[in-house]
């Protein structure tokens, strides 16, 4: 069954490569939900995820002639989605750098990122004895706080947390995807997770 499905998809991919727009529409129909999942898990913002989905399929469509079939179409598409999502975060980071909003802390962190004041305050007050067990939070409340705190993280921190915890990439995979050193992955992830923890504990 799986083999039949893959064979069918290969035929659609080949037809799309030859310019059959309807064949590509079928591929969109088949994969759009999964691509939406990848996009959302990284950017965690509805409108941004929609943009990423559109950019992903546009990029895939234009790059189809170069799709060599070494990996499955699905894997290839997800790599594009991940790349576009990271690109989206990078653009957001660039906008932040250029905007110099008064709401942001004037002090850049070690990664050259600016960080929302309450997240920064939580991070600077970080001390193990100040922690309150997150397990005590009701699941729904935990997820609500997590979503709000994630939104406040610098884009570069969002990228490593999402790639590690939501996409389950290895440190090496994150380093390659984001284009940073392995040590930077480790330190950036540590800082991001601690800031996230303190923000969630602070109740947002």
């Amino acid at each position: 069954m799986l083999s039949t499905m893959e064979d069918g998809e290969s035929a659609w991919v080949e037809r799309a490569r030859q310019g059959d727009r309807r064949a590509f529409d079928r591929l969109v129909e088949r994969h759009v939900a999964a691509v939406w999942g990848v996009a959302w898990r990284i950017v965690r913002h509805r409108e941004d995820a929609e943009d990423v989905v559109q950019e992903t399929f546009l990029t895939a469509f234009r790059s189809l002639p170069e799709f060599r079939g070494d990996a499955s179409f699905s894997t290839w598409l997800h790599q594009i989605a991940r790349s576009r999502a990271l690109n989206h975060l990078e653009r957001a980071a660039e906008r932040l750098r250029r905007a110099s909003r008064p709401l942001e802390s004037p002090r850049p962190d070690g990664d050259g990122e600016r960080i929302a004041p309450d997240v920064e305050r939580a991070a600077s007050d970080r001390g193990p004895s100040a922690a309150s067990p997150l397990r005590a939070l009701e699941s729904k409340e935990l997820l609500r706080r997590l979503a709000e705190c994630f939104e406040k993280l610098p884009p570069a921190w969002k990228a490593v947390v999402a790639l590690r915890d939501a996409e389950s990439l290895s440190y090496e995979g994150i380093a390659e995807a984001v284009g940073i050193e392995l040590g930077t992955v480790r330190s950036r992830l540590a800082r991001a997770r601690l800031a996230l923890k303190d923000c969630v504990q602070g109740g947002v």
Partner: protein, 316 residues
């Protein structure tokens, strides 16, 4: 408040992922045995990681698929590989560009042929590739259609060693309707900037002017014989700045690499495979992102080319 310097907070995250080396792992485990606060932090980090993993994406907007299809219909470039015969179906604007380049090349040759000829015959120059980008909307990564035109090889004497010309001008992105003029000005300036005592091979002359070489001698790689390596996306604020950055990235491979701003928001970079790691690293460091189809690491002296699609950053 507990002083964080006395707790391995920065290593708890990596410990959670099993990413510490044995010595660090042992040290953290020893600390955890004695420190209830750090055990609680570790527990909290685990809870958050699990929550991140388990948090389901919201329901996809019902009309998203339709919007993707509509966007593809409006902005998608042709996906098909251009049949060989269609390469000769040159659009009017492209034909005008090619005609102007060919005419100027002939004029240049004729002028140069009046000069004394050296005794040797030139080796066969490669055909010239002239790219004609497909006009598209601003603000998007632009696709382009290539039209390859082989310039007939004229029987010309071999060039004498040419004096080093002044530094090549920085290539500029020109709107399609202004590119003919730009080509003419570059070509017209060539004899003045390089007053060679003997004529250069015409195909090389045109190619050199079109590809903005990074040094005096033409690069060994030409577009027509370079294998296509992959494509990159690069969101930039200013295309002029991006070209400066690409020039800097290519600079260490001086004499072996070149780049060509096609005028459609894309830059073709030509280089030898042995220079790929350094060029790739430089462009990545500057913010370029390879598309998944980009080759991981070719080796040897093969001629390669890659396309960097420059996308204007969203204005504030």
């Amino acid at each position: 408040m507990v002083d964080a310097r006395h707790h391995p907070l920065d290593r708890l995250s990596a410990y959670l992922d099993g990413a510490l080396d044995p010595a660090d792992r042992t040290a953290v485990e020893e600390h955890l045995r004695a420190c209830a606060d750090c055990r609680r932090v570790l527990d909290d980090l685990g809870v958050l990681a699990a929550a991140m993993r388990d948090q389901a994406a919201p329901v996809m907007p019902a009309d998203l698929r339709a919007r993707v299809v509509e966007r593809l219909r409006k902005d998608g470039a042709p996906a098909r590989v251009i049949p060989f015969r269609r390469r000769f179906a040159i659009p009017a604007a492209a034909a005008a560009t090619i005609g102007a380049v060919a005419l100027l090349a002939v004029v240049t040759l004729r002028q140069r042929s009046d000069e004394p000829a050296p005794p040797q015959l030139a080796p066969s120059p490669p055909p010239v590739t002239v790219r004609t980008p497909e006009p598209e909307g601003a603000g998007e990564t632009l696709a382009k259609e290539q039209v390859e035109v082989a310039v007939p090889e004229p029987k010309k004497p071999a060039p004498a060693p040419r004096p080093a010309p002044r530094p090549a001008p920085l290539p500029r992105f020109e709107p399609a309707d202004r590119r003919d003029e730009a080509d003419r000005s570059v070509l017209a300036a060539a004899p003045e900037s390089a007053p060679a005592p003997a004529p250069a091979p015409p195909a090389r002359s045109v190619a050199a002017d079109r590809t903005f070489p990074t040094q005096a001698a033409p690069p060994p790689c030409t577009s027509d014989r370079a294998r296509r390596l992959g494509e990159w996306d690069w969101s930039v604020r200013d295309q002029e700045e991006a070209l400066v950055a690409i020039r800097e990235a290519v600079e260490p491979a001086r004499g072996r690499a070149s780049f060509d701003a096609t005028g459609s928001g894309a830059v073709e970079v030509l280089f030898l495979a042995s220079d790929y790691p350094a060029i790739r690293e430089a462009i990545e460091r500057l913010g370029g992102i390879p598309r998944p189809s980009a080759d991981a690491g070719p080796e040897g002296q093969e001629c390669l080319r890659m396309t960097v699609h420059l996308t204007e950053s969203t204005p504030e």
